[in-house]
Amino acid sequence: MDRIEVKTNILKDNQQAAAQNCQLFEREGTVVINLMSAPGAGKTTLLEATLRNLRSENRVAVIEGDLQTDLDAERIRALGVRSHQITTGTVCHLDARMIARALAEFPVQGLELLIIENVGNLICPASYNLGEDFRVVIASATEGAEKPKKYPVMFNKADLVLLNKADLAALSGVDLAELEKNVREVNPNAKVVTLSCKTGEGLDAWLNWLRDAIASRKMASMNA
């Protein structure tokens, strides 16, 4: 019996596809957000509120990931924003190859911002890089304060954590300060924004974070 050294990352194919996506996005000057959360944390509602504000300022589009239906892509299209639905069937996350295939029929040329709404799931999407610039994870107040401790890998990999449904925190018996503390314990470096799509609290902070990301990308491509 012979031993052959392999020493290869198990997710190498995905990493390579993600690197190619990333190169394409950089060439086009598109900022790409990978938006993740548990099902029902308010990803699509947040996107609607975001696009109502940004659609007149920026060239923006959305890729939606779900197991079934194109209901979410329809909600985005209803706002007059380009969107593309990936239905994964039974696969519980988007991977970089699915994004590459989507880009073949949904070009990003000229886009300043592409938001990819991942499948609602706090586990495996954390392991699959899509070629994004930033990972944004939503923890909604109605899910309780312990989500970051229970799903540490997902929260650890986030650049920005949005504490959504802040208006429902008191009703849900959830202390937002405790939720934020739990985020910090698994990810001391993430930026944290408390928001409510219903009252509009924190929405400006989130929009300005996106505007800054778009402006930085523009500066970088001008200097390149």
Binding site: I4, V6, K7, T8, A126, K149, E185
Partner: protein
């Protein structure tokens, strides 16, 4: 059940290695799996049983080396091995901790039966 696609990736990587050496079958696939990943060893073992069918790894054993999560403070050097609760702030100085290990996801080596071994025996 993302462990199934992970198991398939492991077998694809192993088969690619085996084919460069003209091997007839894979006996062992050894992987290093960090605790701070989204992969559960038991689920991966089960998925591997399914994924190996009709491949060079049909009779292969999956050997999983579980790599514990270890964190270290860049300032005071405190090293922790968080068991039940992940806390990436240093308990002494409050600074962010770096992850030293626990994120491994690697096919380390494979053990194979080469074609020539089989034919030699027949001869």
């Amino acid at each position: 059940m993302h462990e199934l696609s992970v198991a398939q990736s492991i077998i694809e990587i192993a088969e690619a290695s085996a084919s460069t050496q003209n091997c007839s079958s894979i006996q062992t696939i050894k992987i290093r799996l960090g605790e701070f990943t989204t992969i559960v060893p038991e689920a991966l073992e089960f998925a591997f049983e399914v994924a190996r069918r009709e491949t060079l790894a049909e009779n292969a054993r999956l050997e999983i080396e579980s790599i514990p999560m270890v964190t270290r403070c860049a300032l005071c050097g405190t090293v922790n091995d968080p068991v039940r609760e992940i806390r990436l702030l240093c308990p002494h100085c409050g600074l962010p901790l770096e992850i030293v290990s626990g994120e491994e996801l690697q096919v380390e080596y494979i053990e194979v039966e080469s074609e020539s071994e089989g034919t030699e025996w027949i001869a």
